[in-house]
Symmetry: C2
Subunit: 297 residues, 2 copies
Amino acid sequence: MADNTVTLVEVGLRDGLQNEKTPVSPGQRAEWFNALVAAGHRRIEAGSFVSPKWVPQMAGTDEVMSLIRKPAQVTAEVLVPNQKGLEAALQTSAEVMAVFTAASESFNRKNINCSIEESIERFRPVVEGARAAGRRVRGYVSCVVGCPYEGRIQPSQVAHVTQRLLDLGVDEISLGDTIGVARPREIHALLDAIIPDTGTDILALHCHDTYGQAIANITAGLERGIRIFDSAVAGLGGCPYARGATGNVATEDVLYLLEGEGFETGVNLQHVAELGASICNVLARDNPSRTGKALTA
Amino acid sequence: MADNTVTLVEVGLRDGLQNEKTPVSPGQRAEWFNALVAAGHRRIEAGSFVSPKWVPQMAGTDEVMSLIRKPAQVTAEVLVPNQKGLEAALQTSAEVMAVFTAASESFNRKNINCSIEESIERFRPVVEGARAAGRRVRGYVSCVVGCPYEGRIQPSQVAHVTQRLLDLGVDEISLGDTIGVARPREIHALLDAIIPDTGTDILALHCHDTYGQAIANITAGLERGIRIFDSAVAGLGGCPYARGATGNVATEDVLYLLEGEGFETGVNLQHVAELGASICNVLARDNPSRTGKALTA
């Protein structure tokens, strides 16, 4: 892969929609998945096999998977929190299974009700089962710079959690600035603590735009050789008005950056911008993507 | 001045309000000026001595100047398009007079109805008069990366216009990405063409956030040694929904960046965020500053 190729992991239909109030039918989610494929995306999160009791927005992810059209070069990715989720996910054609933990003990306790170490031990059979079935495994580490309960998180702590996941057999780590508090210097400090042990190929950066810093942070990641970034069409997810709320960085804004910086993604910006505007219409929400608004005005 | 000190030029009350639909009384504008001083700003645009026929939002700038409280360390800055504007401005205590041209011939023709060269010749007596009266002169160069009529602008063209203004006796140049199309690599290319001739001390970067790239572009400017940046409280100005519309980068988002990057400004972010929220209330507009929204939620 040439150094000027960047892979986007489109997380709007999972990390985005799971935080949107308006529920979306599996049929609509599959239609959006297909539109993302048509725009050129190659890695797309399709949903999550978590209990609908906890995340009702993700109910029917199996139906989404059965409805999508997926060319050979496209991978569908799903979140699996536990063994039961894995069993359901393995009934689908999802190529990537994602597990998630946090670099913050407090956040983990509140979010998935266990310690970091317990969460990792819980993943062991999930990772083994997924790999035995020939699927790849992505590990999300959230709160890599800041935590809503603990404040700043030490890069060494993120490096420790990252290494534990890699030891389990996870193929790729997505480093998440879950509450969008990072600035470029903090991204550099984070990567200083991780890249020497892991290299860049297996790292993704997952930025939220709560404080408007995501594009600058992605630029820092690019400078350090990161070539995988998570983003959400129309910045789906979170409430941009609430402190600590999430708001994924908008795919449109990332694509506009990457085009200017000389990177290839294979994704058509104008198509994504039009899809983003259409999704915002369906959800009756404002479009937080500045590029999306500029291109569809 | 230490290398980690950054000066913000707050342009919301001029470049911002002149593009807002809702007119604001001189009394209210003076009150906001005073609030910006209280938040720690040291350089604040107070308005413009242009004809109210062309820019009705700036009517009464002389009244604004007569109403503000201005401690010794604060400079008030005003835009003066011509000799008549200068005469009015010299009746006030404004320390800095700003003249404006563009790096694009077409933009200049549409905006001020003359060529770049004619605009510069028109400034000659203005610059001479301001300096003879002991005032400093700022030169705005707009469309430094892109123009709505001509597309991309060559950095060499911007360097040429910059040099012409400096030859006239202008003290500082503000390089404006007026339509917010730049990405970091384009900022680097621009500065590559200018800094060797001018150094960094007399350069300011004036970013608009139309495509969500302003914070990344300012980061690029910081890397190159730029230490003066223009920004507008609550991202005043322009319409974020229209293609090519302007939207200044929000002071709140810039301050959040600068704090993380280790720069001192003397400006209190929380105070600016609260003022920005209050201004948006008065103008009955959405607050485009993500940091502002996060801090006042």
